[in-house]
Amino acid sequence: MEMSFDLLGNAVVSGLLLGGFYAAVTIGVTISFGMLDIVNIAHPAFIILGSYIAYIANTTWGIDPILAAVIALPAFYALGAAVYQVYYVAFERRGDEALRGLAFFFGLLFITEVTLVLVFGVDYRLVEAPYIGPSLHLGIVDLPLRLLVPFMVALVMVSGLQLFMSHSFLGRAILAVAQDPLALRLMAADPTRIKRVAFALSIATTSLAGAVLIVIQPVEPSIGRDYIGRVFAICVLGGMGSFAGTLVAAMALGIVESLTSTFYGPSWSPAVAFGFLLVTLAVRPAGIFGR
């Protein structure tokens, strides 16, 4: 195939934008898996839940999907706190997170997906917003707004969380619990409470991530599974608990996927993410920024 420069440029740019969106999808896993060591494989299911909330708000009341996600943030935060409480009581306290904790999240993933199928069916759902459709044209490069807006939302979310983590007391406590829960306990702070806040925060991000997902593409309940490989690949490649690493790794994956689907066809793109993950785990499990 002749590789045209236009095609290449557009593929790279849309890969970058896609990567920003992947960062939004992954940032919650960076907190739960990277920092708290909770292997929440149900994370993509919560994202799909977020998409459906945005869908309902958009189709019934005509609310902008991203605004709907912002309104739903506290509900997702509460959901996250509740899930952590169950996880803590049933598994973490018993030291049983390895086998049954994983199975618990797998079950949650499955229950969410099947419930959505029962309620909404397997049809693709989509939302309406003024930025879905038009594109900006910069020279030979097209910037579709439906990718650009999620990209901006992702950047705002990632930098907001970064500021929170590095400048607030609670944020620093979360970083501390990631490093050494025992030391935190010696400082008279309760690691469980801080982990609950952090996990709740990670689930809260899925509200926004779900909204931008349904802006980018139509959603049906099972597409969440395609994201499991992506989010964990990005999280690991980005060095587990690092926001900056997550952003860079997400963009790298976005570009690779976009190039693959431009030059080999979109049916290969799920394998790219998972191949990325397998190679990362085999070659560099500490991630690009890991020590």
């Binding site: 494989i41 169950v86 086998l99 199975a103 499955f110 229950i111 029962l118 191949g275």
Partner: protein, 315 residues
């Protein structure tokens, strides 16, 4: 009970099951019974890795489907009888298990689990893009009217083949449980660092468990194309297999070979009934809810509940 006696008891039980199914004489019994038997094999295979060493495999569907697709390939290229195709399917899945394990088992357990999820999607994408086995459109398999060996009805033959596999897998699982190998696996599950420090070759044992477990899953999948006669990637790699593979051992109890059997018979039968009477989406929801409910409330499954009851009765 010694190993030989156990195998004899299994064979008698298997003969009794087949005889009872023949007595009822309804083809549906064989259709439904085949699925339950297939789940016993899958759940027991999962438990060899998951229950004995404590490593969670979410890729049951992939190992299973690779066995099935090996049969599709062999069916197109050769005229081998099914009982010879099954070991080949097992070898293919076993090698994939070994490869996945080799890449990730040196890391923490969670990485292995995530990698199995990833492997399932990679394998499905490869099969979907492989035209020889039908690609996304799927493959039709014309099954012989009569079985290769006994001249019995084909569905009865499939039932018999799966029954034989169940006997083999159960004998292997119980054999492992009572051997040095089983104790080695248990040390990994209980404290891997301590095991490694006391000279248990943990990586080698984990790779062995992954390979065996994957191979048995592949063998369980190998007859599938003849059972369904039409196989496409979405149904072969269905999440139902992955979720049942995890749910059945955990609901039944992972500590002994009996647990997955109890879980598979219970959940398998329940799903057969629910598929007919309610809907297939709803019965998957039941499986998911039972999985979550059991891991929270009864971490040792039905076996654990039974032992707890017995312990209390004695006290």
């Amino acid at each position: 009970m010694s190993g030989t006696k156990f195998v004899l008891a299994l064979l008698i039980a298997a003969a009794a099951v087949f005889g009872a199914a023949r007595l009822i004489g309804n083809a549906y019994v064989f259709f439904a019974g085949y699925v339950v038997l297939q789940y016993i094999a899958l759940a027991t295979a999962w438990n060899i890795l998951g229950g004995y060493t404590g490593y969670v495999n979410f890729g049951t569907a992939a190992f299973f489907a690779l066995g099935a697709y090996t049969t599709v390939v062999l069916h197109k290229l050769t005229s081998l009888p099914l009982p010879l195709m099954m070991p080949i399917g097992g070898i293919v899945s076993g090698i994939v298990g070994l490869g996945t394990g080799y890449l990730t088992l040196r890391l923490r357990g969670a990485f292995f689990s995530i990698a199995t999820l990833a492997m399932a999607v990679v394998a499905q994408t490869l099969i979907t893009n492989w035209d020889f086995v039908g690609g996304a459109r799927g493959a039709y398999i014309v099954r012989p009217a009569q079985a290769w060996l006994f001249g019995i009805d084909y569905i009865q033959y499939l039932f018999l083949v799966m029954l034989a596999l169940v006997v083999i897998v159960l004998a292997a699982a119980r054999g492992i449980e009572r051997s040095r190998l089983g104790y080695g696996f248990a040390t990994i599950r209980d404290d891997e660092v301590a095991a490694e420090a006391s000279g248990v070759p943990t990586l080698r044992l984990k790779l062995l468990a992954t390979t065996l477990s994957g191979a048995f899953m592949g063998m369980a999948g190998a007859p599938l194309p003849y059972y369904v006669t039409y196989l496409d990637p979405t149904s072969g790699f269905s999440l139902a297999y992955a979720v049942n593979g995890v749910a059945m051992p955990l609901v039944g109890g992972t500590s002994s070979w009996l647990g997955p059997v109890i879980g598979a018979v219970l959940l398998g039968t329940l799903q057969q009934v629910a598929t007919v009477t309610i809907s297939s989406a709803l019965n998957l929801l039941i499986v998911g809810l039972m999985l979550v409910g059991f891991v929270i409330v009864a971490p040792n499954g039905i076996l654990g509940l039974l032992r707890f009851g017995r312990g209390r009765a004695r006290a």
